[in-house]
C-alpha cells in the first residue's frame, strides 16, 4: 500500500459557483480547488450546499453562475453523460436487474468495449473492491456494504477523470462503515483519481481526506488539512461542527481570553470585539483533578475505550465535558469533587450574543 497518491488525476476548480433553488441559496459563490489525485472531503450539516456542489460538478445540476474547470477546461456546457465522472450515491444506485459484474460492465458497454475486455475489467474492478467472488450475484443478494463496493467498482471501471462520492457510507452500519471507509482510501490512493467526497460525518471526513472543506450556507467556511481543521478552527462554527466543544463565558482582552481565572491564547481574536465572549474549549483541553476542595462535581462518566468523557457540574450549574484517559476513571466516580484546569491550548472565541 502506498501512502502518496500516484498523480494520474486531473485538477478540478470551482470558481464562484452559485445556485439557488426557489428561495434557498444552496451555493453562494463557492470556490474550491482539488489538486490532481487529491481526495477532498466536503463536510457540513444538511442543507449547507455540499451535495449541490458535487452534483454541479457531476453535471446533474446547473450552476446559476461561476465556472467549473476540470483539467483546465470549462465543462459548463458538457452534459452529464460526457463529463466522464464516476459517481457513487448514498444507496440503491445499482441496477437491480443486472448482476454485480453486469453493473460494473454497464459503463464499459457504453464505451463500446468488447465483451471479453469488459468481463476482464469488471472482474478486475470487483477484485479491487474486495468482492471478486460475488460477481454473478444480483444487488438484492448483496449486503449494503457489498452493494456500495460494487457501486464503487462501477464508478471506477470507466476510469473517470474525477470520482464523486455522495455520502456513500451514511446508509451503512457503524462497523461496515469504518471498514469501507479505509478501503475507499486505499483504493483511491491506488488508482490516484481526483476525488470529491461529500459527508456530514466529521470523523469520516477527518479520517479519509487529504484536505477537508467545512461548508456552511453555500460557502466554504474553512478548508485545510484534517489536523488543521481540528486544531486551528478558523471560526466558532468550524470549532463546534468538527469535534466536540464546550461553550464557556469568558472575557476577551489584548492579552488573550480569560476563562475560569485562566488566560488562554486565542485563534481568532482579531475578528471579535474585546469584552465578554463565548469561548469554545475542546474536552481534551480540560484537565480534572480529584480534590476535596475543588468546586466541581462529577455528574456523569462515559467510557469510550482508551479514553473517557467526564461531565462535571460547576456551582453556577455550568456543565464541563472533559476527556481523560480511562486509566484515571477509578479516581473520578460520579459525585467526586474535582478541580477543573484549562490547558494552555489556543481556543476559538465568538461574540457572546451569537449562538
Amino acid at each position: 500500500m502506498t501512502t502518496t497518491a500516484v498523480s494520474t488525476g486531473v485538477a478540478v476548480r470551482l470558481e464562484g459557483v452559485s445556485r439557488r433553488f426557489g428561495t434557498v441559496q444552496a451555493l453562494d459563490g463557492l470556490d474550491l480547488e482539488l489538486a490532481p489525485g487529491e481526495l477532498v472531503a466536503l463536510l457540513g450539516p444538511s442543507g449547507c450546499g455540499k451535495t449541490t456542489a458535487l452534483r454541479i460538478l457531476a453535471g446533474l445540476e446547473d450552476a446559476d453562475s461561476g465556472r467549473i474547470l476540470v483539467g483546465g477546461k470549462d465543462v459548463a456546457d458538457v452534459p452529464v453523460n460526457r463529463r466522464d465522472m464516476g459517481m457513487v450515491f448514498q444507496a440503491y444506485s445499482l441496477f437491480p436487474h443486472l448482476t454485480a459484474a453486469e453493473n460494473v460492465e454497464f459503463g464499459l458497454r457504453l464505451r463500446r468495449q468488447s465483451a471479453a475486455a469488459r468481463r476482464r475489467r469488471a472482474q478486475e474492478m470487483l477484485e479491487l473492491v474486495g468482492i471478486g467472488t460475488h460477481a454473478s450475484r444480483f444487488p438484492q443478494q448483496l449486503s449494503g456494504g457489498q452493494q456500495q463496493r460494487v457501486a464503487l467498482a462501477r464508478a471506477l471501471a470507466i476510469q473517470p477523470q474525477v470520482l464523486l462520492l455522495d455520502e456513500p457510507l451514511s446508509a451503512l452500519d457503524a462497523k461496515v462503515r469504518l471498514q469501507l471507509r479505509d478501503e475507499i482510501r486505499r483504493i483511491q490512493l491506488e488508482v490516484g483519481t481526483t476525488t470529491l467526497f461529500v459527508t456530514h460525518d466529521q470523523e469520516e471526513a477527518l479520517a479519509l481526506a487529504d484536505r477537508v472543506g467545512v461548508m456552511r450556507a453555500g460557502r466554504l467556511e474553512q478548508i485545510g488539512l484534517p489536523e488543521d481543521i481540528y486544531r486551528n478552527p478558523a471560526t466558532p462554527f468550524v470549532a463546534e461542527f468538527v469535534g466536540l466543544s464546550n461553550r464557556f463565558a469568558g472575557q476577551l482582552s489584548a492579552s488573550g481570553v480569560e476563562v475560569f481565572n485562566t488566560l488562554l491564547p486565542t485563534l481568532n481574536a482579531g475578528s471579535v470585539e474585546h469584552g465578554p465572549v463565548e469561548v469554545l474549549v475542546r474536552p481534551e483541553s480540560i484537565d480534572l483533578t480529584a480534590d476535596p476542595l475543588g468546586d466541581g462535581r462529577v455528574v456523569a462518566v462515559s467510557f469510550l475505550g482508551p479514553l473517557a468523557r467526564v461531565t462535571v457540574a460547576l456551582p453556577d450549574e455550568t456543565l464541563v465535558v472533559a476527556q481523560v484517559s480511562s486509566a484515571r476513571l477509578a479516581d473520578l466516580p460520579p459525585g467526586t469533587p474535582v478541580r477543573v484546569t484549562l490547558l494552555p491550548i489556543p481556543v476559538v472565541v465568538s461574540p457572546s450574543d451569537q449562538t
Binding site: 457531476a58 453535471g59 453523460n81 440503491y92 444506485s93 437491480p96 454497464f106 457504453l110
Partner: protein, 283 residues
C-alpha cells in the same frame, strides 16, 4: 384443541366466502358444462363451443378485452408516469389517485347510462354537436351500442385501473438509476432502453393482462349498453340462460362460462409469474 386449529378458526369467514362465491359457482359451471338436461354426462355442450356464433363471441370478447387493455395500459402508464414526476404528497397526485380508485370501479349500469346520456342518440353532447356545430357523431351508424361503443366505455374504466396497478412499479424506479446511467455515459434513450424499460416491462405486461381479465369478465356495462344481439361471451351466456325461444341451453351457457374461466385462468397465471419477477427487483 391444538393451537394450530384455533389459529385456523380466524380464516373460516374468508374460506366460507371464497367457497360460496368462487368455488361452488366454478364447480357448478365446470360440472354443468359436461351434463345434459337430465344430468347425464355429455360432451355436447363443450362441442357446441365450436359453433360459429359462439366462436365469434369469443373472438369479439378477446378482441374487445385486448384492445381496451392495450389502450388502457398505454394511456394509464403515461398518466401514471406524469403522476410520479409530481411530488409524492402533492395534491394533484392525491386527487388523481383517489379519482382513479373510484373510476376504476365505476363500470356497470351507471357508466353505460352516463355514456347514453352524454353521447347516446339523444345525449346532450350529441345534440349539442348536431344542432350547434352540425357534426353528427352517428353519421356512420349507431356505433355506441355495438363493439366500438364497448371499446370506448371499457377504456373509460381501464385507464384508471392501469394507473392504480402500475403506479407502485413506477414509484419503485429510483432517480439514482437515471443519474447513474447518465454519469456512466448513457443518454436518456439508453436509460429507457437498458434500465427503466427492462425494469418496468414485467409490471407493464402484467398490468395489461390484469386489464384484459378485467374487461373480459365485465358484464353489466355491456348488458346495459347493448340491447340488440349478444356480441360478446357474457351476453351470449345470458341469452343461453334466459332464452325463451331456445330452451334447454343452460348447460351450453355453463360451457361458455367454463371457457371464460380457462381464458382468465391462463391470463392470471401469466400475471402472477410476471408479478413475481418485478417484485424481486423492486421492493
Amino acid at each position: 384443541m391444538s393451537r394450530r386449529l384455533r389459529d385456523l378458526l380466524g380464516v373460516v369467514p374468508f374460506l366460507v366466502f371464497v367457497g360460496i362465491f368462487l368455488v361452488v359457482p366454478t364447480l357448478v359451471v365446470a360440472i354443468g358444462a359436461f351434463l345434459d338436461e337430465d344430468n347425464r354426462a355429455t360432451l355436447d355442450n363443450v362441442t357446441a363451443l365450436a359453433d360459429g356464433y359462439i366462436v365469434q363471441a369469443f373472438v369479439r370478447s378477446i378482441v374487445l378485452s385486448a384492445v381496451t387493455a392495450i389502450l388502457g395500459a398505454v394511456i394509464g402508464a403515461l398518466l401514471g408516469y406524469a403522476l410520479v414526476t409530481a411530488k409524492p404528497d402533492s395534491t394533484v397526485r392525491r386527487v388523481v389517485t383517489s379519482a382513479c380508485g373510484v373510476l376504476a370501479q365505476f363500470g356497470g349500469v351507471t357508466l353505460a347510462f352516463a355514456f347514453m346520456a352524454t353521447i347516446g342518440l339523444s345525449g346532450f353532447v350529441t345534440l349539442f354537436l348536431r344542432d350547434s356545430l352540425g357534426i353528427d357523431i352517428f353519421s356512420g351508424g349507431v356505433w355506441l351500442y355495438d363493439l366500438p361503443g364497448l371499446v370506448l366505455v371499457y377504456t373509460y374504466f381501464q385507464i384508471p385501473l392501469m394507473v392504480i396497478v402500475f403506479l407502485p412499479a413506477l414509484d419503485g424506479i429510483r432517480p439514482q438509476w437515471r443519474e447513474a446511467t447518465e454519469s456512466l455515459g448513457g443518454s436518456t434513450w439508453y436509460y429507457w432502453r437498458r434500465v427503466a424499460g427492462p425494469l418496468l416491462a414485467p409490471a407493464f405486461i402484467g398490468s395489461t393482462l390484469l386489464l384484459f381479465a378485467n374487461a373480459f369478465s365485465a358484464y353489466a356495462t355491456a348488458a346495459a349498453l347493448v340491447s340488440q344481439g349478444s356480441p360478446i361471451v357474457p351476453l351470449q351466456i345470458r341469452s343461453a340462460l334466459t332464452s325463451e325461444v331456445l330452451l334447454g341451453r343452460e348447460n351450453v351457457g355453463k360451457a361458455m362460462a367454463l371457457g371464460m374461466v380457462v381464458v382468465v385462468a391462463v391470463v392470471m397465471a401469466l400475471y402472477a409469474v410476471l408479478q413475481r419477477r418485478t417484485s424481486r427487483w423492486l421492493d
